[in-house]
């Protein structure tokens, strides 16, 4: 079963789907939606099969495929997945059908072609799967750059009022990061022995001159820090997240930003172990600043989508400290955080999108007491908010807890400061919910006819799987941790750090 070329088929499938959907004429919008949904479900099924075929105790990289591409540069179509990539691929496969269903009516009012929107979504899925499945740095870079194009057009063509500005800012920020990375990729290729293969490069990692390695690390890190985004490279995300259609915004923060943290784990750490350790204090400081600063900004937001974007930046701070704590718990917590954040913030964005679609406004001040009109939807928003602030019993709690204990064992100060971020998270989530759904009814709300309709069947189908997964993984994260743990351990081994003796009883994640 392991010989089946899962990853290449998984990558190409959405691309073919995008072409098919793009060919559907404008007038047949419903057909385009159905095809896109069906296509993403096929991808989901294939991903589930791949998940089952993945051997938990097996090799670090599985499903390896390699095809010649540019022999004179030794660039190859190499795909391989470790546990980290596997869970991210699974998250992508789960989120896309949900987002497609959630976006069903989002662009009907648009002057643009509806099939184009869904084709762009599938094209985006293609680039996302490719970037996580690639095990050749050249191939990774290619996906890293071209993922901008579908998202650029999604934001620019189908977004809110400030879409042009947001789309261009998004593109330029990411491109700047990408070009830094290009310089680093070229440098790595030259000093790493003219190969792009991840395994070969990781093997040659020790032989790179110390200063060179630090510069190369920086090139990669800046690209990933912009993508993630970490403070102070984050300013594009609130604009992009605020302007993008809600579904696309869910993908933007739920999946695409994970490329940054994934890239740090997969490329920065194993390829430049010494540099990673050298830069770790700086990265930790940035991450901690990000947690507090973004949370404070989130508290002050009056725009729902921008608010959720800021919460994401804070969450990426947590992922960052988990990674750079260099403990297995912290690392596992971070990867788990990436998945759980995708589910929780994805849900939050989608629900916020449902509110915004009804009210026709992003502003918190345009709501108020909405729970009286749409009680079930308000309940879902409440749940999504609680998941997002990592309430025990929801999946994000596990990951946040792991990150914090993983960090606490080595960097007590950072862990303590980061914990303050949890309190701020409670503040921004609860205050947002209070101002939108609780309290006295905003008198303008009943004048909006759409606000009278509570959650529809389609919307129930959209949120149900996410809610189920968040609760399920909140109580039983083992299927994920079993897959993630060996990969994180291998990564920490690459970095050359040992876990401190466990101080938490019964937490035998380590060896």
């Amino acid at each position: 079963m392991n010989d089946f070329p899962f990853l290449s088929i998984l990558t190409l499938l959405p691309l073919v789907g995008a072409v098919v959907v793009a060919c559907i004429p404008r007038a047949r919008a419903d057909l385009a939606k159905m095809v896109a949904l069906a296509w993403s479900l096929v991808v989901l099924v294939l991903s589930v099969v791949m998940w089952i075929a993945f051997q938990t105790g097996g090799d670090r990289f599985q499903f390896r495929e390699s095809y010649a591409w540019i022999p004179s540069w030794d660039a190859r179509f190499t795909f391989a997945a470790d546990g980290i990539a596997l869970v991210m691929l699974m998250l992508i496969a789960v989120l896309f059908p949900i987002v497609i269903l959630a976006s069903w009516r989002d662009v009907d009012q648009s002057k643009r072609s509806v099939p184009t929107y869904f084709a762009l979504l599938l094209a985006f899925e293609f680039t996302m799967i490719g970037v996580f499945a690639a095990a050749d740095i050249f191939l990774f870079y290619v996906f890293f750059e071209i993922m901008l194009i579908p998202m650029y057009f999604i934001i620019g063509s189908f977004g809110g009022p400030r879409r042009q500005y947001a789309a261009v800012k998004f593109f330029l920020y990411s491109l700047v990061g990408g070009l830094f990375m290009l310089a680093a990729v070229i440098g790595l290729w030259v000093v790493g022995g003219h190969t792009f293969d991840f395994n070969n490069l990781a093997a040659a990692a020790g032989s790179i001159d110390q200063d060179t390695a630090r510069w190369l690390f920086l090139g990669f890190f800046v690209a990933f820090a912009i993508k993630a985004p970490f403070f102070p490279f984050h300013t594009w995300l609130p604009d992009a997240g605020g302007a993008a259609p809600a579904g696309a915004a869910a993908l933007l923060v739920g999946v695409m930003d994970k490329v940054g943290t994934f890239g740090i784990l997969r490329y920065c750490l194993p390829l430049f172990p010494e540099a990673s350790r050298w830069f770790a204090p700086a990265a930790l400081v940035l991450a901690v600043i990000g947690i507090i600063y973004a949370a404070l900004l989130a508290v002050g937001q009056n725009d729902l989508k921008r608010l959720v974007s800021y919460t994401s930046i804070a969450h990426f701070g947590f992922i960052g400290i988990g990674i750079f704590a260099f403990t297995t718990q912290g690392g596992t917590g971070s990867v788990l955080y990436m998945v759980n954040h995708g589910l929780a913030t994805g849900l939050l964005f989608i629900v916020v999108g449902m509110f915004v679609a009804r009210r026709g406004s992003n502003l918190v001040s345009d709501f108020g007491g909405a729970g009286k009109m749409v009680p079930v939807l308000a309940g879902v928003l409440f749940f999504a908010g609680l998941a997002s602030l990592a309430l025990p019993g929801t999946a994000p709690f596990i990951s946040e807890f792991l990150v914090l204990i993983g960090t606490f064992t080595v960097h007590k100060t950072y862990a303590v400061i980061a914990t303050a971020g949890i309190i701020l998270a409670a503040a921004y989530v609860l205050w947002m919910i209070q101002r939108t759904t609780q309290g006295t009814l905003n008198p303008t709300l009943p004048t909006v006819p759409a606000m009278r309709r509570d959650i529809t069947l389609r919307e129930k189908v959209v949120v149900a799987p996410l809610i189920l997964l968040i609760i399920l993984l909140g109580f039983y994260p083992k299927p994920l941790t079993d897959v993630i743990n060996p990969a994180v351990q291998a990564t920490m081994q690459d970095v050359g750090v040992q876990d401190p003796t466990p101080v938490v009883a019964n937490e035998r994640v380590a060896r």
Binding site: I70, S72, V142, G156, S157, V168, F171, I186, V190
Partner: protein
């Protein structure tokens, strides 16, 4: 008195050039013997057939490595590769030049000497058929370029420089619309070009004084074992370089580029952007790699500074442009900077990656200017950027193609722009020129902005009142566009065959 010994001439190796010069001469005879209504078809077919025949001759010579005709011409890997590239790009340019479907009479004027603005001028802009001398002129220019990249001594190189420059000066002046701009462009190009040629010639004289000979081999000998003052060497090299930097549009010798690119008839701009660049860099490569290899440590920092300056000037000024042709001109200046980064790697990868870049860029820029010819209103091409707003709404296919071209210029993967940048930057890091690569990457970020602005204009802006229409291209322009776009995509996705070809060809004979 000794008997004069005639040099050996390898006619086979010279065949591509002989074919082109022959065809151009025949073209002049055809011009006076063919009836007017047939002239365009006959001339176009003749020129195209000549170029194709020359290309076949290049292919047939693919394994030739020789210096012939008394050391004047070197036919080696780079020569043959660049000649092949010039011929293919030249053929695509000919398609753009030959298109008569976009405008009555084509993009060229019928009588260049008529006073601008006079009644006769208005009449000829309206319905007179265009000049057909453009075909022999183009073929002459191409022939000169072929010789330019093959020249193995400095005088031959100078002659070739003039042979390909003079027709280009003329061609620049022949735009059907905006006659004044076109004439101004031609005059500027001619005057500045003459200065550059004079510098080049003076450089040849100094180098002759230094080396006691003009063949590149002799210069190489003299450089590695100097008998004369080094001042002659450095002065000569500097003056030679000025001549070549001018043709390649490198800063600070780039100032003619935007004016000439804007004023010249767009198909001629395309020819210059694609083919002149190949020729100029071909000659620069040969001079630096073959003759002056021994003083590489001396010229590398100077030319490195030139490259940095070029990239910065091109990128920064591209941001401020409001005219599509000027924008593309500054973009081509910046690209000349990237090419020079590849050249300065001064290793085999540098040579092969620069050649790869030249071909990749040539196809992309041909397609870009091809598209510029399509966006028209009643007064001809509408090149002001504001006029392009919202064209994506009206003509999605056209806008998609142009977006693709712009992404290629910006160096986004899956286009040849990415692979070629990767190739030259990789070679430069290999050659120890990391600082140039860093500047290259930084300017790429700057350059992305104007390209992106055009994409925004095309797709995200609302169409204005005066948005021009995109003409349905005729067969020739469509074919040229298709070739350019397909090559841009193919070289981005499967660059391996061409990379291998450039690697096999990356050995000069000395």
């Amino acid at each position: 008195m000794e008997d004069l010994k005639l040099p050996e001439i390898d006619y086979g190796a010279l065949l591509p050039m002989l074919i082109l010069f022959g065809v151009a001469c025949v073209g002049i005879i055809v011009e006076v013997t063919t009836p007017r209504r047939l002239r365009n078809t006959v001339q176009l077919s003749l020129a195209a057939l000549g170029v194709i025949a020359a290309f076949v001759a290049v292919i047939a010579q693919h394994s030739t490595r020789t210096i012939t005709i008394g050391g004047a011409v070197a036919v080696d890997g780079p020569t043959l590769f660049l000649q092949g590239a010039l011929l293919v790009l030249g053929l695509v340019s000919l398609m753009l030049i030959g298109d008569r479907s976009l405008e009555r009479g084509g993009p060229f004027v019928s009588q260049a000497a008529i006073t601008v603005g006079s009644q006769k001028d208005v009449k000829q802009a309206g319905d007179q058929p265009g000049l057909t001398e453009v075909y022999p002129l183009t073929v002459f220019a191409l022939g000169g370029m072929l010789l330019f990249v093959a020249a193995n001594d400095l005088l031959t190189m100078f002659v070739a420089l003039e042979v390909f420059s003079l027709p280009l000066y003329l061609l620049c002046a022949l735009a059907r619309r905006r006659r004044l701009l076109s004439q101004e462009a031609a005059l500027k190009y001619f005057l500045l070009g003459s200065y550059a040629s004079a510098f080049f010639l003076f450089g040849v004289a100094l180098i002759y004084g230094f080396a006691g000979g003009i063949s590149l081999g002799q210069v190489h000998e003299a450089v590695s074992n100097p008998q004369q003052s080094q001042i002659l060497l450095y002065g000569g090299l500097a003056l030679l370089a000025i001549g070549l930097l001018f043709k390649a549009a490198l800063a600070p010798f780039h100032v003619w580029t935007p004016d000439v690119y804007q004023g010249a008839p767009t198909p001629i701009t395309a020819l210059m952007a694609a083919c002149t660049k190949v020729a100029a860099f071909g000659a620069l490569l040969r001079i630096l790699y073959v003759a002056f290899d021994g003083v590489r440590w001396d010229f590398q920092p100077v030319l490195g500074t030139v490259a940095v300056l070029t990239m910065l000037v091109g990128a920064v000024l591209a941001v401020t442009q409001t005219d599509m042709k000027r924008l593309l001109a500054y973009s081509s200046i910046a690209n000349a900077g990237y090419l020079l980064v590849g050249v300065l790697a001064l290793n085999e990868e540098g040579l092969s990656s620069t050649m790869f870049y030249l071909v990749a860029y040539g196809f992309t820029v041909l397609a870009a200017f091809g598209i510029v010819t399509l966006v028209r209103d009643a007064d001809g091409e509408a090149t002001h950027l504001s006029r392009w707003a919202g064209l994506g709404r009206k003509s999605p296919l056209f806008a998609a193609v142009f977006t693709f071209i712009l992404l290629a210029f910006a160096g986004i993967p899956l286009t040849s722009g990415f692979t070629s940048k990767f190739a030259v930057f990789g070679a430069a890091v290999e050659g120890g020129q990391t600082w140039l690569v860093i500047v290259g990457v930084l300017t790429s970020m700057l350059l992305a902005f104007p390209y992106l602005r055009v994409v925004v204009l095309l797709w995200l802006s609302e169409p204005g009142e005066s948005t021009p229409t995109v003409s349905i291209p005729g067969f020739l322009t469509s074919a040229a566009l298709a070739i350019g776009v397909i090559a841009t995509f193919a070289l981005g996705v499967v660059p391996a065959p061409l990379i291998d070809l450039t690697r096999d060809a990356s050995q000069f004979v000395r």
